[in-house]
Symmetry: C2
Subunit: 227 residues, 2 copies
């Protein structure tokens, strides 16, 4: 891995000398010592993006939740569990030239995770109180000082993909949104292919369905042009 | 896998001719198309038990949730996601001579999982309503017709292990409870070792901490004696 990291750092390309942050995978939000809330993100797209950026010469900081996907080669790897841990790792990774937030971060955590396993009781069902997690994409997009030149968010939607993703770009203040439809019938979440729409201030551009590696390669080339 | 299944079925031993059900792994309870509630069961102990029973000559039906552990060789494999699916698979596996319920089944599911991804809204945090899942151990333990001769439950506890597990045996109506302490500091959940206490009508018997393979072997021998 050290060798791979050096190879990555030494590769010459359009992104040589650029430092780029990539987040990837799901987050796990604890309920109690044995239970947690998860999501179906495999981390495959994030790993592919990191490797494509390394191939273009970038120095990549890769912050990942507990993803099934293999870790990318040639990156600075930071492993986290929860959204709060990911926020902290992202802040420690700054400053960067560009940030690609492909992780599927939980919007909510359980407000007070229990230190003991929650038992079935005669009172019946548990009451889970939720608290909002830090909004990593909005926080970094709206930095007054040290904002990355390019901030790319992801929008995994099941309905009204284009409208929801376009609104998300404005609301968060990021430069681009990579939007996709993660309805179970698409097979995208956990699968090897993706069908994305890139939303920028210039509008929406739908890419044909292709392998996640190919999506990553095109996105990395776009990032290289934009920086 | 076919060869392994045949090898298992043909192995002669004290459990030859016995059909045994083993459940294993966590269950995943959907919140919406991308989010779910999970637990930290790796399925390692269940896989080891199934393989130990096969080694003693048993025909094993192995019903597993989405576990990280490798699937056991030589079994009839049934893969499920949720507690409700596991209940159905268990009912379809009956009749059996013995049943070992080592799965970490979610006590609760989200009452009405959403067909669409739940969005952040101005109304704020989501309200998750829970419903009680079917109690697989109690249902099979209390069967009026076709109850397995031996029903073994598991109790993964973080507090008052012995008291909670002993009460569980009575409440569920099973014959044995294999109890263990899954507090994070024990490293048992997700680890390769286990420290269990076997609770039967004769009382509680604490086994020294040992590998999960060894726990499985001793348990399989006990089951062979009991049948």
């Amino acid at each position: 891995e050290i060798v791979a990291a050096i190879e990555g750092a030494m590769k010459a390309g359009p992104l040589t000398g650029r430092r780029i942050l990539v987040t990837s995978g799901p987050t796990h939000e604890p309920i109690d010592p044995v239970r947690y809330i998860a999501n179906r993100s495999s981390g495959a797209q994030g790993t592919a993006i990191a490797e494509a950026l390394v191939a273009q010469g970038a120095e990549v900081v890769f912050v990942t939740g507990p993803a099934d996907a293999a870790r990318p080669r040639g990156v600075h790897l930071v492993e986290v569990q929860s959204a709060q841990e990911m926020m902290q790792a992202v802040q420690e990774a700054l400053p960067v030239d560009a940030a690609v937030f492909s992780a599927a971060v939980a919007d909510w955590r359980v407000a007070s995770a229990s230190d003991s396993k929650i038992k079935k009781t005669k009172q019946g069902l548990p009451k889970l109180e939720f608290a909002e997690n830090p909004d990593i994409l909005a926080t970094v997009s709206q930095l007054q000082n040290g904002r990355p030149k390019l901030v790319v968010g992801f929008a995994a939607e099941t309905d009204d993909v284009l409208a929801n993703a376009t609104a998300k770009r404005t609301r968060k203040g990021c430069d681009w949104i990579v939007a996709n439809d993660v309805s179970p019938e698409t097979g995208i979440m956990g699968g090897s292919e993706n069908a994305v729409t890139l939303i920028s201030e210039d509008g929406a551009e739908s890419w044909p369905r292709m392998g996640k590696t190919e999506v990553a390669k095109i996105l990395a080339e776009r990032i290289a042009k934009a920086l």
